[in-house]
Symmetry: C2
C-alpha cells in the first residue's frame, strides 16, 4: 500500500545529535531482543491472551455496529457516551480526527444530519447537571460503556440518566435511548440489559479498555457520526501486516518501542512527549497517554521482582506549545523524547494574504498558507531540538483519514505490547489502581470496605 505511515527517526540517533542520543549500534544490538519480544507477543496473541490484534478482522461485530448505527442510531440528534478511560478516549480521538472540527457546535446541515457526539468522561456535577438539563432527552442516545459494568463513575452517570429517562418515557420508551457496550456474559450491565431488554454490543474478554478502540467501544460512536469504520479497520490490518516483520528496521511499531525503551533506560529520558502538529491528531496523543502509561508503569516485572518502571507520556500541541513547553524541551534536562505527529497532505488550506509589505515582521508571511507555516514551524522545531542534542522523531501520516488513523492507532498499540516485553512487564494489567478503588468504596460507605490506607497520624502541615 502506498499511503503508508512513516516513522522518521534520524533525530533520535547520535549522528544528528552531536554525539548525544542513541548510538545506531545500540539500535542494531537490540535487533535480537526485538525478535524475541516479537515472538513472545505472537505467542500470547496466538494463545488468545492479547485480543486487540483480532479486532480489525472481526466482521461480525463490525456488522452489528453498522446495523445499529444505520438503523436505530439514525433516529437521534445527540449521541452521548457514558464512559471513562479506555471507554472514552478512543471515541474522542476518532471524533477529533475524522469529522469536521467543532463538530458539536455545527448545525444539522453542516453535520450532514449525523448526531452530535458527547463523551462524558467525568463526574463533576457542575458540568454534568447543566449538560443533562440542556439536551433534548427525546433526541438523545446514551451509549453506556464499561467492560466490568461496575465502574463507579460510569455507573453513577448511568443511574442519573436511567432515572431521567424513566421519568420522561414510559416503560417501553426509555429502552430505545440506551445501548450498552460491555462484557458478552458477565457483569451488572449485562444483567440489566437481559432483565430490561436493552440493546448491547460486546467487548471481548481478552480486550482491555485501553486496547479497545477498534472494538465496539470505539466503533459504535464512530459509526454513529458517519466515520468510515471499514477504512479504519483496513488501515489497522495493513499495519498489522507490516508489523508481522521480525526485522526491526522494517517494523515501525518495533522501531518506536525500541527507540523509546533505549531512550528511557540508556539515555535517562523517561518522558515521552507526543506533540501533534495537527489539531485533529491531538485526541490521538491523549489516547496514547493512557495506553503507554497504564501498560508500562508497573511495580513488578513478570518474574515478580520489584522494578518500579515505566516511562511517562506527555501530550503537546504544535505550534501552540512552542509558546509554552519548547523552552523547557530545548534547554532543560536531557530527559525527554519528542515524537511529532504530522500530516503530509492537509487537504483544505488557508492563504495568508499579502499586506503591510513595508513591515518586514509581517511581509514574509503574505502569500504563504497556514499549512506551510505550521509545517515550517514543525521542521524548525525538530531541527532546533536536534541541533541542541535533543532526541526527537516524526510520525508522518499521508492524510488524516480513516485509513491513516487505523494505521496509527494499531501501530501504537502494537508498539505498546512490544515495549511491555522489553521492560519485562505485563502490558495488559493495572494492579496499581486497586487500592484507590477500595478506598473510594470505603469512603462511599460500600459494605465491607475500609476508607483508610492505614497511615499513621501525624502533624498537621497546612498553609493556613
Amino acid at each position: 500500500m502506498s499511503d503508508r505511515l512513516v516513522l522518521d527517526y534520524n533525530n533520535m540517533l547520535s549522528p544528528r545529535l552531536g554525539g548525544r542520543g542513541i548510538d545506531p549500534a545500540r539500535l542494531e544490538a537490540l535487533a535480537d531482543r526485538f525478535a524475541q519480544a516479537h515472538a513472545e507477543v505472537a505467542r500470547r496473541r496466538d494463545a488468545g491472551e492479547i485480543g486487540f490484534f483480532q479486532l480489525p478482522y472481526q466482521s461480525e461485530v463490525r456488522e452489528q455496529v453498522g446495523n445499529f448505527a444505520n438503523g436505530l442510531g439514525q433516529a437521534f440528534g445527540t449521541a452521548v457516551v457514558l464512559g471513562i478511560g479506555g471507554s472514552a478516549l478512543g471515541a474522542v480521538a476518532l471524533r477529533e480526527a475524522l469529522v469536521k472540527p467543532h463538530w458539536n457546535e455545527l448545525d444539522d446541515d453542516a453535520r450532514d444530519y449525523f448526531p452530535r457526539l458527547y463523551v462524558l468522561d467525568n463526574v463533576d456535577p457542575s458540568t454534568l447537571g447543566p449538560f443533562l438539563d440542556r439536551i433534548d432527552l427525546g433526541q438523545a442516545l446514551f451509549n453506556v460503556i464499561s467492560k466490568s459494568g461496575s465502574t463507579a463513575e460510569t455507573m453513577s452517570q448511568f443511574l442519573v440518566v436511567r432515572d431521567r429517562l424513566g421519568r420522561t418515557f414510559d416503560d417501553d420508551g426509555y429502552r430505545r435511548h440506551l445501548v450498552f457496550t460491555t462484557d458478552p456474559e458477565k457483569g451488572v450491565l449485562r444483567r440489566i440489559a437481559r432483565d430490561e431488554q436493552i440493546a448491547t454490543l460486546p467487548i471481548p474478554p481478552n480486550v482491555g479498555g485501553r486496547f479497545s478502540v477498534l472494538s465496539a467501544v470505539g466503533l459504535l460512536p464512530a459509526a454513529l457520526i458517519g466515520i468510515d469504520i471499514d477504512a479504519l479497520l483496513a488501515g489497522a490490518r495493513d499495519m498489522d501486516e507490516r508489523c508481522s516483520s521480525t526485522q526491526l528496521r522494517e517494523n515501525p511499531a518495533g522501531l518506536f518501542a525500541v527507540l523509546q525503551y533505549l531512550a528511557d533506560t540508556e539515555q535517562r529520558a523517561p518522558m515521552h512527549v507526543m506533540m501533534s502538529y495537527s489539531d485533529r491528531l491531538h485526541g490521538v496523543a491523549d489516547w496514547f497517554r493512557q495506553l503507554w502509561a497504564e501498560s508500562l508503569g508497573k511495580e513488578k516485572n513478570r518474574a515478580g521482582e520489584t522494578v518500579n518502571v515505566g516511562p511517562t507520556p506527555l501530550k503537546a500541541m504544535g505550534a501552540t506549545d512552542q509558546h509554552s513547553q519548547v523552552q523547557l524541551y530545548m534547554e532543560g534536562p536531557y530527559d525527554k523524547t519528542i515524537t511529532f505527529l504530522t500530516v503530509d497532505q492537509r487537504g483544505e488550506d488557508l492563504e495568508v494574504p499579502k499586506a503591510y509589505e513595508d513591515m518586514p515582521e509581517l511581509a514574509y508571511l503574505g502569500g504563504h498558507t497556514m499549512g506551510e507555516l505550521l509545517s515550517a514551524e514543525r521542521q524548525a522545531t525538530a531541527r532546533a531540538l536536534a541541533h541542541r542534542g535533543r532526541m526527537n522523531m516524526t510520525l508522518r501520516l499521508p492524510r488524516v483519514d480513516a485509513g491513516g488513523i487505523g494505521q496509527l492507532l494499531m501501530m501504537l498499540q502494537i508498539a505498546t505490547v512490544y515495549a511491555g516485553e522489553l521492560y519485562g512487564v505485563d502490558p495488559l494489567d493495572q494492579p496499581g489502581v486497586e487500592l484507590g478503588k477500595q478506598l473510594t468504596y470505603g469512603l462511599m460507605g460500600r459494605p465491607g470496605y475500609q476508607a483508610e490506607a492505614g497511615e499513621a497520624p501525624d502533624p498537621h502541615w497546612m498553609s493556613e
Copy 2:
C-alpha cells in the same frame, strides 16, 4: 479574610510516606534560603523588573478594560482572541473556571447575552478556515494579543482576519471589529493601531506573556464574558499580601516552590503533575504548565554556567485520569509529585438516585451526590498514593469563584519566581525558543534568515 486557599502538604513529607518523600527537617533547613529568595524577588519587584506583582493594583487599566467591555464590547455576540501561549492560556483558564460549562454551546439567553469567547491559539487551517467561515463577521470582535506584535502565528491570523474584515466592511466599519492588546509603545501592532486608529490596550513592558493573565491580556476577554474582574484582582491582592511573609510556613507560594524544588533536586522527582478534581480548574492546570516550564527550564543559571535544569509540569484530570495515569503514578518510578486541585464548596450538585438496590456494585452509589463521589475519589487517590510512598499535596479552593481564582493564579505566579531563585535561573526570559524562530523565518523565506541549523548530512533512518 476567611475564604482562603489552603495548601495541605502532609503527603509530601516522610512521616506520611513510610520514610520516602521529604524529611520535614529539610524543609526547615530551607527556611533561610527561602528568605533570601523572597528578598531577591522583592528587590527585583521594587526595581521594576518583575511587573506582574503590580497588576492587581493598576486601577487605570482595569477601568479601560471595563469601559471597553461595557461599551463597544456589548455590541458583539462572538469575541475571538487571536493569540498563542501566554496570550491565550489565561483567557481559557478564566473562561473554563468562571462562566458556565460549555459556554460557547449555550444560547444567548443561557449566556445572559454575553458573547461566546473563542481563543484561537493555533494556525491549523483545517480548524481555522471552517471557524472563520462559520461565524457571523458582523457580530464578531477580534482581540489580537501579542506583546511584540510580531508573533508569527498570531500575525498570520490577523492578516487573514484583517483581509476578511476589509472585504466585508467599508473603510471605517472594519475598525470596530478589532481591538489590539500589545506593548504601549513598540511593535508592529502598535504602529498599525496608530496608522489605522484601532482600539488598543497595553501590556506593560515589564510583564512577560506567561505572567500577563491579570493585565489587559486576560482581563479584557474575561470582562467581555461577564467575569467579575474586580473580585479576581482582589483575590490576587489578598494572595500578594499573604506572600509578603518571609516565614516559609506562612507563605503558601513559598511552600509550594520549596516543596517542588526539594522534590526535584533531592528526591529525583522532576515531574510535577497538577491534577484537577474540578472540570473548571483544568484550564488553570494548562496555564500553569506554561508558567512552570518556560520559567524554570533553562540551560544557564544567572551566573552564566550551563546547568540544564527545570522540572516538567504535567496536567491531569480527576477522576478521569485515575483510569489513565494513576496506575503509573502508583507503581512507576518515584519520579513525580502530584498536586491536587480541589474545591470545598462545589455549589450545584447532582444526586445519584437509589436504584438496583439488589446489586451491590450499584447499590452503594445511590443516595450520594456526584460531588461526594468526586471528593471520595480524590481522597482515596491521595491516600493510596501516600500509602505507596508517593509525594502529593492538595491545593484547596473554598469555591470556584473570581476571588478564589485570583488567589490561585497569583499564588502560582509568585511561587514561580521564588522557584526561579531556588534554581538560580532567571524565571523571566526564554532564550531557548530563539533558534526555532530563526529557522522558521528561514523556511518561510524571510530575508536575512537561514533555514538550516547546520547539522551534518547523515544516513536516512526511516521506517519505510
